[in-house]
Symmetry: C2
Amino acid sequence: MTVLKDQSQAGAGRTIISVDAMGGDRGPAAVVAGISLSAKKNPEIGFILHGPRAELTKLVSKRKHLAGRCEIRDARDVVSMQDKPAQVMRTGKNTSMWSALDSVRNGEATVCVSCGNTGALMALSILRLRKLSGIYRPAIAVMWPSRNPQGFNIMLDGGADIRADAKDLMQYALMGTSYARNGFGLERPRIGLLNVGTEEHKGRAELKEAHDLIAANARRADFEFVGFVEGRELPDDACDVIVTDGFTGNVALKTGEGIASLISDLLKEAFKYSPLSRLASVLAYTSLQRLKKRIDPRRANGGVFLGLNGTVVKSHGAADATGISSAVKLAFELAQSGFSEKLAARVASAALLDQDEPSEATSDGENQ
Amino acid sequence: MTVLKDQSQAGAGRTIISVDAMGGDRGPAAVVAGISLSAKKNPEIGFILHGPRAELTKLVSKRKHLAGRCEIRDARDVVSMQDKPAQVMRTGKNTSMWSALDSVRNGEATVCVSCGNTGALMALSILRLRKLSGIYRPAIAVMWPSRNPQGFNIMLDGGADIRADAKDLMQYALMGTSYARNGFGLERPRIGLLNVGTEEHKGRAELKEAHDLIAANARRADFEFVGFVEGRELPDDACDVIVTDGFTGNVALKTGEGIASLISDLLKEAFKYSPLSRLASVLAYTSLQRLKKRIDPRRANGGVFLGLNGTVVKSHGAADATGISSAVKLAFELAQSGFSEKLAARVASAALLDQDEPSEATSDGENQ
């Protein structure tokens, strides 16, 4: 059987990550460089790599750390950044993205990594992996550099769905709790709900409703609910997980990236300004590199799709080898912790306790 | 007559700014220090200062630049940051904020500056100054440090109203155009509409409708419409004015502040790390101060209320003397350019041309 052969080729006893080699801005060479970096650092990872066989074979054969640990699956089509999700769902059967997701669907790999078109990846993920029973809107969890002890916050939804009602936001709180616990070892994460003020009378009606729903679930789901938080808490230490709809979350995420990039450029300019400041930049080099690493979006770019039967890690489209390797590391940690199963159990138990209010999604028969 | 006496006392021939001395986090001393700084820099400004007479007289008498240029209006009550807008509207008649707005209402001053409670200031501004004919939702225009030639972008709404429909967003584009032209001399500002992607098929339905409405008004209102922009364009050079609803705008604004503050703290830490990096920080001091000035929220903190009969500049609650002085400078420039009258004319001419679709606001009789 193909499946058995492939698994043994990717490496016996290893945790297998399915990787879409195509669709990123830097092409398959960056992806192969990234997984090679991961293979070097972590002997327990094996890969199934999806894309045009001839091209990938050439790239993989140059990387000695990938020898015997990377199975190639031929897929001749590529989802481009311009492709519309609906189109990809109809005609994307031969794409590397579809093939990469199917390795998770078939049980050959636990987690899929792709740096392709986010909209298409979410649409194909829902099509091939299906939503978890009880989940109406899957979400993308993203990471923010922050002041709290672990150095980052988790925010969801980062842009899977531009809408979210009170019940969706409550489910995001549950999924965020599972992710924080299994991905990062935060036993009792602090959850905040993003709003324009911290007072309970402020904000949209669905946010007040969500506030009460989340508060009601805090004890049984074992998280601490800190209530409403504002945009400035995204990089702060008021909480560990911040819940919002995908429209607001996406705007906040891109705003943060934009501001960080502007400051970084202005800082470079400032250091070029005079002979003294040029000397200063040499003396401060190590410290500045440490700062850069701390807020580098490439290192915190593993957006994770939650609410599906299986886990998908979306890497930044512009990710280089460092970015890909960081996404693979996160994928490995989630696979090791049995995250998918634990998240499913959490959502199911919340749905059971929620009997007086059957959800739309539980009855739509989309699961399993 | 009191009015005449007051005007002459604030300074004959000067442009009079009405200033609420109370309600900021740092108290009236910071406000008086700020207006003194402005008075020193600009001999053409005079002030009417509102708050408890005894306290203000003492503070003003210490500042030689304010001699003969600052009329004090006694107001014994203060709007606190905790006060609810509805409450202030009912019982705020003796507050310094109410009094400061009434100087604009009475025609004694052209622009009002306050660093008090934003919600209360907007509610009182609508109550005392009234909305412009044809405007349904006034907006707060805020400034972002950015990469474009003028060094900043204007975004509205920064949080006046958590809702905005397509027509409101189109009016924000018109008001933003007037503000950019009269406040900052941008003859034909580039307008962008904030969304989660730049493709026309993306985003909420009301955003697609707003996109078409704004595009239809671009030529007659003489702005360039660049279409949808993403969060990362807020500090970039894709446009000069970014239009969004007050919920999204407020989250983006606070997110940007939070990220800038985190990076600034991490930078300080990085420079303290080793003897070499401490030396570097000494050598780079001047360049870093220049960078700090460029992205300092205190210098770009003049949020301006648009869509009222009169102009209100909201300074940051935590503003110090530099922040207050920056808000006063903006107020002066808007007063000098005849901004209020020009904005009113622009909105009126757009309403006239929009005859097939009479607005709700034109017929609600709230104006004048």
